[in-house]
Point group: C2
Chain length 311, copies 2
């Protein structure tokens, strides 16, 4: 069975950990969002790629959902002495990843190649593809001003109101090698429980990706990132509100309307099934909260069953 | 009084600390060797500049003479997971310096500008000038093969026999802004107790520097890095031997013969005074071992007195 998963950061990683417990590693291909990539201190930081890689590699800092377990912050503290802005927290071990990646990119390696090297070095056996090798930072236009997504997210803690989101240079970007094929040749495509606007949105905006999703014979199933009108993590709820969508799982299903066959929503939101059905998407209700590895595995199994029902 | 000092790493830094205790900071200009600079993991490392800066900034790790006091090595350990060679020890705080410097260089700042910014950030009030803004790595041709100086020094612990030393691209290099003027306008020039071949040698090899030393009206005084036929630190003795020089303070004086007016040698080597006098250099004997701050200050005072005697 070949599953291709579109992934953001923390929520996606939890689901992928469950999926890895159910399938063989080589049955899973992950297309990771790079829209939230940022350059800091001359280093290329890929938060979503790293969160997925660290989680599947078993080195993620679980208390925060980002960075490396037990990391220290000596380097960052010292960078502060040089007047550098340090609102984006980078641990010492984590920095090694960014230093290594940046050096490799400067030597002419592609982000795809470096990502593959790093995931192998950390013992991750599923393929992780950046959505693109190009740099297409997500910009958030707020009621205050336009800023990089990380500035909105980390520095200003999602406080400004979002007026629009744009993906810089996305029209010139190319899907990274293997992205389109992995969608076209998959037995199923899973849109992980990630923010539809700033995690999945950038992936869908890479020219060719949406077309591959429309053309693939595989069923496409999305998992809700919203439960009871709230996101477990991140600004998905605020963004649904600010961008004029219904703040609910049904609101997310509507964003994916023309792309997905099945929409997995939480049992808490079972009453939204009818609304989702009405927009032409098949609802599938289960417990989508992933606390334990058991939860993650169970959700992965549920999704696979739904996929097989759909084929 | 305006003193310009040509400096390598540890030995020079000790002397400069003494000099800083005797003179006002703005009376001292330091020209630092950049021949031992190296690029690792895409980062520009400037060991001598950093040792001088960290020492005068009061943050040097005194037990080793390099790096930042109490530094940790988490980042380096993690880089090892990515297969990077980690024989060159870079602490987490120290890495911040290299990350910051590299980012600034990539943004088009010169090494002179970045060096100045860093020394100010660390509270160093004497000017530190890189000998050049160009990259002119010192290569050591050994009986085994040619290698970067740091490889010879750190990786192979000075074990290979040295056949020759060359400074890559030095003929195309320019002294950094202020270097020549600081020599021409000085009241005295001090060649610090550093390795004559790989610390002072590269500075003298930058086109224009030797000429400025020949033309300056200021007395030039060198302090021996060799005591009783041995270097307190580093491969100066091995290099004197391998390159066919006398392994003694007199051997070093002979290397500087046409450049220096006064040569400060250790009381242990007082019997070499005559030999030094014979090559036309005035010897000045004192205790040159710098253990305490008092030692350093006393040596600085001695050197200044000798300089004034010479004027």
């Amino acid at each position: 069975m070949k599953i291709t998963a579109l992934a953001g950061g923390t929520g996606a990683s939890k689901f992928l950990l469950g999926l890895s417990a159910v399938l063989a590693p080589d049955e899973i291909t992950i297309i990771a969002n790079t829209g939230d990539d940022i350059e800091l201190f001359g280093l290329r930081i890929c938060p979503d790629i790293d969160t997925v890689t660290y989680t599947l590699g078993g080195v993620i800092e679980e208390t925060t959902g980002w960075g490396i377990s037990g990391d220290t912050f000596e380097s960052l503290k010292w960078l502060e002495r040089y007047g550098e802005a340090t609102w984006f927290k980078l641990g010492d071990r984590d920095l090694a990843t960014h230093i290594f990646r940046t050096a490799q990119l400067h030597r002419g390696r592609s982000l795809t190649e470096v990502t593959d090297y790093i995931r192998c070095a950390l013992g991750v056996r599923s393929k992780i593809l950046p959505m693109t090798d190009d740099y297409t930072p997500t910009r958030v236009i707020t009621d205050e001003r336009e800023m990089h997504f990380q500035e909105y997210f980390v520095r200003w803690r999602c406080e400004p109101r979002v007026k629009a989101i744009r993906f810089e240079d996305i029209e010139k970007a190319h899907p990274s090698p293997g992205v389109e094929r992995s969608i076209l040749e998959a037995d199923a495509v899973v849109i992980c429980p990630s923010n539809p606007f700033i995690s999945i949105g950038p992936i869908l905006a890479v020219p060719g990706v949406r077309k591959a999703l429309e053309e693939t014979a595989a069923p496409v199933v999305a998992i809700t990132p919203i439960i009871g009108g709230k996101a477990l993590k991140g600004p998905a709820a605020e963004m649904l509100r600010d961008l004029g969508h219904e703040v609910s799982a049904a609101g997310v299903a509507a964003v994916y309307e023309d792309l997905v066959d099945v929409f997995v929503l939480d049992q808490e939101d079972a009453d939204l099934s009818e609304a989702i059905e009405q927009i032409g998407v098949r609802p599938a209700v289960t417990n989508t909260v992933m606390k334990t590895l058991e939860d993650k595995q169970r959700l992965a199994e549920f999704v696979l069953e739904e996929v097989m029902r759909d084929e």
